[in-house]
């Protein structure tokens, strides 16, 4: 029986492990499917990581390195190249590796940190042929940054997610010509700083409200036809533009990778596509926690680390003190203009001073007030200059306010000035 099994040795798993150790747990095991710790950070060789966390700009591998160094000073055990195949509701972890064979590990607590995967062409149904040369931005990033190979010379980016923007710059620096970035929505899906630093600085045009309506080429991509999207979300005839490209990189969203979570019977939130969690990142199975991109897709790894430390502390407490007293539970609901909220539930007894709530808006909002309502009563207000779907928002709700909530439900909504 292991005190804590952490599934995934990326930023989420690393932060959870370090914090659980710091909180006094001594029997911790990280199961990582890749050959090294760090997860997707290892292929993110650009900088911009760690500004919130460390107050300085780090590359992805450097950011992961900070946590790996911290981990080295602990007794946390790490098993690499190990794939978890199943997590049972009674916390048995089935996994397999070349060296250790097939293992069934019983755990007192589990942290799920499997991250996310990229949406594919199939998910968005882009018409045309199916030649080589259409890659998700992350797959291309791996080829370029980890394997040392270029995936193309003339590139179109579909979707303005952060990885796509980063790859627009990366491909340009490697000598490829990036002709444009095309985004179906009227706003970008990525961080503003990435639009500026990865597109504008390299004179790569961004076409908002546009999409690829046809991919041509038999063996390898030869052409992409792009058209403007009307208010009915359909291409507007006559607006077609032809791009002679050999490569199309997709950055059309990330999906939390929750097959293990679902298989374990953990309650899911269709909005986040991750587990429903309490204020301490605990899922519907007591002692099983979820953090990082597996529970909600983040923009910044700094916030993954913070969220995962919360899970690490909570897992340690669970093992040391047993389950959290249920007490009063507040359901947190996304109101007008919100895509989701996380956590979805707050156990008031579990909140010491305050608890953090993250969410994303569904449209760009100017100067706004974030209203936290319980029933008809507004219990908290937060001012923001601007809100955008591409940038996750965070608010802190003090315990004293939670205690005053008149009904067992909190709704968060936006009031635009």
């Amino acid at each position: 029986m292991v005190d804590l099994v952490i599934i995934g040795g990326g930023p989420a798993g690393l932060a959870a492990a370090c914090k659980a150790w710091e909180s006094g747990l001594r029997d911790i095991l990280i199961l990582e499917r890749d050959k090294e710790l760090g997860g997707i950070l290892n292929q993110c060789i650009h900088n911009g990581f760690g500004l919130h966390r460390f107050g300085e700009q780090l590359t992805g591998p450097e950011y992961a390195g900070r946590f790996i160094d911290m981990l080295k000073n602990t007794g946390v055990k790490v098993q690499l190249d190990t794939m978890v195949l199943e997590v049972t509701p009674d916390k048995k972890v089935h996994c397999v590796s070349k060296t250790e064979g097939y293992q069934i590990i019983e755990a007192k607590s589990i942290v799920l940190g499997m991250g996310c995967r990229e949406r594919t062409r199939g998910a968005i149904g882009t018409p045309g042929t199916r030649p080589a040369g259409v890659y998700t931005a992350g797959a291309a990033q791996r080829y370029v940054n980890m394997e040392g190979y270029m995936v193309g010379k003339r590139v179109l980016i579909l979707g303005s997610g952060d990885i796509g923007l980063i790859m627009a710059r990366r491909m340009t620096l490697e000598g490829a010509k990036v002709l444009a970035c095309v985004e179906v929505m009227p706003y970008s899906g990525g961080l503003t700083r990435n639009i500026v630093q990865c597109l504008n600085d390299f004179n790569i045009p961004l076409y908002l409200s546009h999409t690829i309506v046809d991919i041509q080429g038999k063996e390898r991509v030869e052409k992409a036809i792009v058209a403007e999207i009307g208010p009915d979300r359909k291409p507007i005839p006559g607006t077609e533009m032809e791009f002679d490209v050999d490569t199309i990189l997709l950055s059309v969203g990330l999906i939390p990778e929750n097959e293990l979570t679902k298989q374990a019977g953990i309650e899911m939130d269709p909005r986040t596509k991750g587990a429903v969690v309490y204020e301490n990142m605990e899922t519907s199975i007591p002692g099983v926690f979820a953090c990082g991109n597996v529970v909600q897709v983040h923009d910044l790894v700094d916030f993954v680390s913070g969220e995962s430390e919360l899970a690490g502390v909570a897992a340690a407490k669970y093992v040391q003190n047993g389950p959290v007293q249920e007490g009063r539970v507040l359901a947190v609901k996304p109101g007008k203009d919100l895509g989701y909220t996380l956590p979805q539930r707050i156990r008031v007894e579990g909140v010491e001073k305050s608890t953090n709530v993250s969410f994303r808006v569904r449209r760009i909002c100017g100067k706004s007030t974030i209203l936290v309502k319980s029933g008809d009563q507004v219990i908290a207000k937060f001012k923001r200059e601007r809100l955008a779907p591409g940038e996750m928002e965070h608010i802190a709700l003090p315990r004293v306010l939670l205690d005053k909530a008149p009904v067992d439900e909190l709704t968060i909504e936006i009031e635009e000035a």
């Binding site: 190249d81 397999v96 995967r117 394997e147 040392g148």
Partner: protein, 482 residues
Amino acid sequence: MYDVAIIGCGVIGAAAAYALSRYENKVVILEAENDVADCTTKANSAILHAGYDPAPGTKMARLNVRGVELAKEICAKLDVPYKQCGSLVLALSESELPHLQHLYENGTANGVPDMKILTKEETLAMEPNLSENVCGALWAPSAAIVSPWEYALAMTEVAVRNGVELRRSCRVEDAEAMADGGYRLTTTQGTVEARYVINAAGIWTEKVHCMVEPASFHITPTRGEYYLLDKSEGTRVNHVIFQCPNELGKGVLVSPTVHGNLIVGPDAVPVHGDDTSCTSKGLEFVKATAQRSVPSINFGESIRNFAGVRANLDVDDFIIGEEPEAPGWIDLAGMKSPGLSAAPAVAEEAVGILKGHGALGAEKADYKDGRRHIRFKELSAEEKAKLVKEQPAYGRVICRCETITEGEILAALHSEVPATTIDGVKRRAGAGMGRCQGGFCGPRVLELISKELGMDPLDILQDKNGSNVLVSETKVGGKSNG
């Protein structure tokens, strides 16, 4: 000089090769693409039809019913994913009920076993996610689903094991009758001479036929577009769900696949050659039409769209037989639906023709039939543990969506018909078939191909010749350079 040259290694060519491999004959398969099952066979509905559709008395009717019988045995023997889940043809209005009766009578005449016409209640009890508009259905329990490319691959593997020669990337460009019988085929890999030719070139059968004689048949390649949905939608229905043809067309099907996904399609649009592009119009039609049968399909779970071309013919039957003006030239043409279903029975016909000529050798005494394929994810925990202990490569999962291990990929790269491309590995081992569509495992599979086959990563193909994945090294250079 070969006894028989088979042109094309789709499911028809593969079935013919498998059937002929039993006999003491020198057989060669000439496949134009760089892998087998790389055209119509890899992109279709993956259904073995019960056989109530074809008109009684046609070859199609007879070979369909016989073919599905044989397929069941072959799939069991060769470890091909197969499931006899049965099919339902829905009547979605009262006016469609007579059509069910018509199909039932057709099926009875064709020898389709155990059919039944179900009431609305019986139908909904079997498939609760069907439209409330359903008025009844024809139930045919002998219909099945199969993995078409694994089916063709498995038959080819056994054929190759038993001495049939397979040449890939070997396109037949011309054919001429030789003075003292037999044919000389000019291919992209030189000349091949054979006493008999089996023309199983799929959508190109007419073109190939015309190399020796004008064809009496005309093929119109007809494209069908599909959605393939994630396993989360894989149990939306549990049987093959067809519609009655109506003023909108033949209707589209909704079916589970043997791999646990949901397949939805196809439409039918005549195209030139092997134009397998998808169109927004086609996909919208497929989606809207499918929702008439199963309104709750969550198309947000789509993981891939694809299209296949089928060899539609100007007559409503298969063309199977010897060209009267070209003795020894056997056409297996017009293998549109139910071509996949009929394949092994079509092969029997070809063998019968050769036998009629006295061209068949004796049965091989040392014939090695059968095939076993390790699928790690289908094993029990105990079996997995044992396997990994014996062969540690099965302990490293390469494709996480489908749980495909390094051991399975190595097996694909060293099989009797080895994979040489990323999609070749996908068709044999299943890596890259899942929800991330190879985003994670693609680079790892590429690395394994490079290592195992000693290939430069820059030469590795996604699928067909020319579909290189990588174009150059980066400024720092590839891994191979350290």
